[in-house]
């Protein structure tokens, strides 16, 4: 596999900088991910207890819950076996159904759950930029219907009045 950094065109300093940052971020994110207790905690917070209490698996707090103890033990066993995150999740989904996952996955229609809000954000952002530009370029509307423009000495007199009254 080619190193993506080697493809960078000379002179594209900012692109390289972003890639280095990304690389660092990925490396740091990987750190500490291997510890079973951390993984148990992480995956356990991505799952729901299925007893009907609507709580995150590791936050389910009622003693004698018919589901959560067994589920936790299963999760611990999978993590200790060294199963990958996706394998653990797949196992749980097969056994308990898709509602065991606390959030939609990144596959298929589930992905829409994440894509739509961000798409709406970018769409809205673009829309507002367009709106602002349009409003900036539109002609000044009349202050109220049927107003006559004032000129000359009369204008000066009322301008002066406005200035004095707002100067207070």
């Amino acid at each position: 596999m080619k190193n993506p950094i080697s493809k960078t065109m000379p002179g594209k300093g900012s692109g390289r900088f972003t890639q280095i940052i990304l690389l660092c971020a990925v490396v740091f994110l990987m750190l500490g991910a291997g510890d079973p207790a951390t993984r148990f905690n992480e995956i356990g917070h991505q799952m729901m207890c299925i007893c009907g209490c609507n709580q995150i698996l590791l936050e389910c707090n009622h003693v004698g819950c018919p589901a959560s103890d067994g589920m936790r033990n299963e999760l611990m066993a999978s993590v200790e076996r060294g199963d990958s995150d996706s394998l653990v999740e797949q196992g749980f989904v097969q056994k308990y159904g898709p509602t065991v996952l606390a959030a939609p996955t990144n596959k298929g229609f589930d992905r829409a759950a994440y894509v739509i809000p961000f798409a709406a954000l970018f769409f809205g952002f673009g829309l507002i930029v367009l709106v602002i530009r349009a409003w900036k370029n539109r002609p000044t509307p009349a202050i109220a219907d049927g107003l006559r423009p004032v000129r000359g000495a009369e204008l000066e007199q009322f301008r002066d009045q406005a200035r004095k009254e707002t100067d207070l």
């Binding site: 202050i143 109220a144 107003l147 006559r148 423009p149 004032v150 009369e154 204008l155 009322f158 301008r159 009045q161 406005a162 200035r163 009254e165 707002t166 100067d167």
Partner: protein, 98 residues
């Protein structure tokens, strides 16, 4: 069955309150064009005061301040002129209607 007379009394009290209207009604002053323009003038005045304050607080540069202030004062002047014209035409129009 004590509740029947109680309920009847309640219904009669409500009907009496709703439909017995002695004296004249308060209808408030009629909203005139001058009144409407005065509201508009107040809003423009607020904006002018606001602009002055923000200028003083260092948010608006001199050049912008001059042009914005000038356009707002024009707006205020137009409104003031129309208000004074309307008031000279119909001085009675602001009388409250009771």
């Amino acid at each position: 069955m004590t509740w029947i007379p109680l309920c009847l009394m309640l219904a009669i009290a409500c009907l009496y309150y709703v439909f017995y209207l002695p004296g004249r009604l308060f209808l408030g002053p009629e909203k005139t064009r001058a009144g409407y323009l005065r509201e508009r003038k107040d809003a423009v005045y607020e904006n002018l005061r606001d602009l002055n304050f923000e200028y003083k607080a260092g948010k608006v540069p001199d050049a912008d301040y001059a042009s914005l202030k000038s356009s707002l004062q024009d707006e205020a002047a137009t409104l003031l002129a129309e208000i004074s014209r309307l008031e000279s035409l119909a001085p009675a129009s602001r009388k409250p209607r009771v």
